[in-house]
């Protein structure tokens, strides 16, 4: 599948929400923990071999599960498959928690769900749909779906 690689690499050079050197272990059997510069930019997690300009890889932070693994580590799992579970080791418990929260916050899906929550609540409290003033109330991506349950760990 083609993608705009150069432009994505350029994105990896932009100011990030959070960046740090962490221990990182890939999803495949036999993968070991390696030090990587991990950088969160919008809903992408880039990882660089230390001192390399171009990222080694990029992870799209959508439809994934972020979990605390132990006091210093967290993991990101894609497609609910163990073979797609990335592990990250931090230097402190606080750092670990901060990364988890930042990654969850960064997800487009998470933002969209929050938007729908606020929209519904504002409408309930004030009787007005806050999106109407912007003329975007009919956009598909902002529609309220019934039975919306947001599990903080699942993005």
């Amino acid at each position: 599948m083609r993608f705009n690689e150069k432009e994505l690499i350029s994105l990896s050079r932009q100011p990030s929400e959070r960046a740090a050197e962490l221990g990182m272990r890939g999803p495949k059997k036999g993968d070991v923990v390696k030090r990587r510069l991990v950088k969160l930019v919008v809903n992408f997690l880039f990882y660089f071999r230390t001192d390399e300009e171009e990222p080694q890889g990029a992870l799209l932070l959508e439809q994934c599960r972020v979990e605390r693994e132990d006091s210093l580590a967290f993991s990101i799992t894609f497609l609910d498959e163990a073979e797609r579970k990335y592990l990250f080791e931090c230097d402190s418990q606080e750092q670990c928690q901060e990364w988890i929260d930042s990654i969850i916050k960064a997800s487009y899906e998470f933002m969209r769900k929050n938007l729908i929550f606020y929209r519904t609540e504002i409408h309930r409290l004030t009787g007005k749909d806050p999106l109407e003033q912007y003329g975007i109330e009919d956009e598909t991506r902002f529609q309220v779906t019934s039975g919306l349950q947001l599990m903080p760990k699942d993005i």
């Binding site: 599948m1 083609r2 993608f3 705009n4 690689e5 432009e7 994505l8 690499i9 350029s10 994105l11 990896s12 932009q14 100011p15 990030s16 929400e17 959070r18 919008v42 809903n43 171009e54 080694q56 890889g57 990029a58 799209l60 959508e62 439809q63 994934c64 894609f78 497609l79 797609r84 606080e94 901060e98 929260d101 930042s102 969850i104 916050k105 487009y108 899906e109 998470f110 933002m111 969209r112 769900k113 929050n114 938007l115 729908i116 929550f117 606020y118 519904t120 609540e121 504002i122 409290l125 004030t126 806050p130 912007y134 003329g135 956009e139 598909t140 991506r141 919306l148 947001l150 903080p152």
Partner: protein, 272 residues
């Protein structure tokens, strides 16, 4: 750079809604003819394949850091996605089937970026808190929707607070008819900003406010969201109004130009 196709494919086909889809013509890189493709916009990603019923995705375009522009083209209803932050970045040339489709796609692509949604959510969060203050209700009246913080109530709205939506932070790709208008120009109104704003070189990237509030701290009192000196607040309403106006004016102007067949230098947006 490695990117897992399966993860992207899964995201495209999973149950969350496609924000917009339809046929567009895409100019090839080597083969310079326009090819008809089925496009699907989801979040800040624009996927494309041959036909809607075909399973395999041909490609994806990550919509961060680009501007949306009307462009000169032998094709009607053409527009382009332009990356220009550094040398060597490309431009995708696309064309819609008719004018309404062109306008609709331009609008959608302009607001697909992460920063737009982040700013909108921050705006609604503010309105929500104001509404909660104005209408303190019986907590049991709370909506049956699970809020964003089912498991960590004390952290409630702090998660979404990453500082003020400063002028330089909001980044929407701009629409220009041959000109690259930066939304910074559009928002350059308040003189309070200590930050110099680039006039013509569009700041394509949002300056992320790294001032993420620590999770275990009680939320600051109303209205005291920390400012890290990155510029004056932007009201999403202003942003949005300007957007809508800009798109309409550009398209109207483009149509006029097409009829007159004369290129005129003019300011499309009057900032007063």
């Amino acid at each position: 750079m490695k990117i897992t196709g399966k993860i992207l494919t899964h995201f495209q086909s999973c149950s969350s809604p496609v924000d917009k889809e339809g046929y567009l013509y895409k100019k090839g890189e080597r083969n310079t003819s326009y090819q008809k493709r089925w496009f699907m916009l989801k979040a800040n990603l624009l996927f494309y394949k041959d036909r809607p019923n075909h399973r395999d995705l041909l490609g994806v375009i990550v919509l961060e850091g680009c501007s949306v522009q009307l462009c000169e083209s032998e094709e009607q209803f053409a527009f382009s996605l332009v990356w220009s932050g550094e040398p060597g970045l490309r431009t995708y040339k696309l064309a819609a089937e008719d004018q309404p489709s062109q306008e609709s796609w331009i609008r959608a692509l302009l607001s697909a970026n992460h920063g737009y949604l982040a700013t909108l959510v921050m705006d609604l969060e503010k309105q929500y808190k104001e509404a909660m203050k104005a209408f303190p209700g019986d907590p049991s009246q709370q909506s049956t929707l699970a809020g964003p913080n089912t498991e960590r109530p004390t952290q409630s709205l702090i998660w979404l607070n990453s500082g003020t939506a400063a002028l330089s932070q909001y980044l929407g790709p701009s629409v220009g008819a041959g000109h690259n208008f930066s939304t910074n120009e559009m928002l350059q109104v308040p003189p309070i900003s200590s930050k110099p704003t680039n006039k013509r070189s569009p700041k394509l990237w949002p300056k992320r406010n790294a001032n993420v509030v620590p999770i275990n701290v009680p939320s600051p009192p109303q209205g005291e969201w920390s400012v890290t000196g990155s510029g004056p607040k932007v009201e999403f309403s202003e942003l949005h109004e300007d957007f809508g106006k800009e798109v309409k004016e550009l398209i109207a102007d483009w149509l006029r130009r097409g009829q007159k067949d004369v290129i005129q230098e003019e300011d499309l947006i009057d900032f007063g």
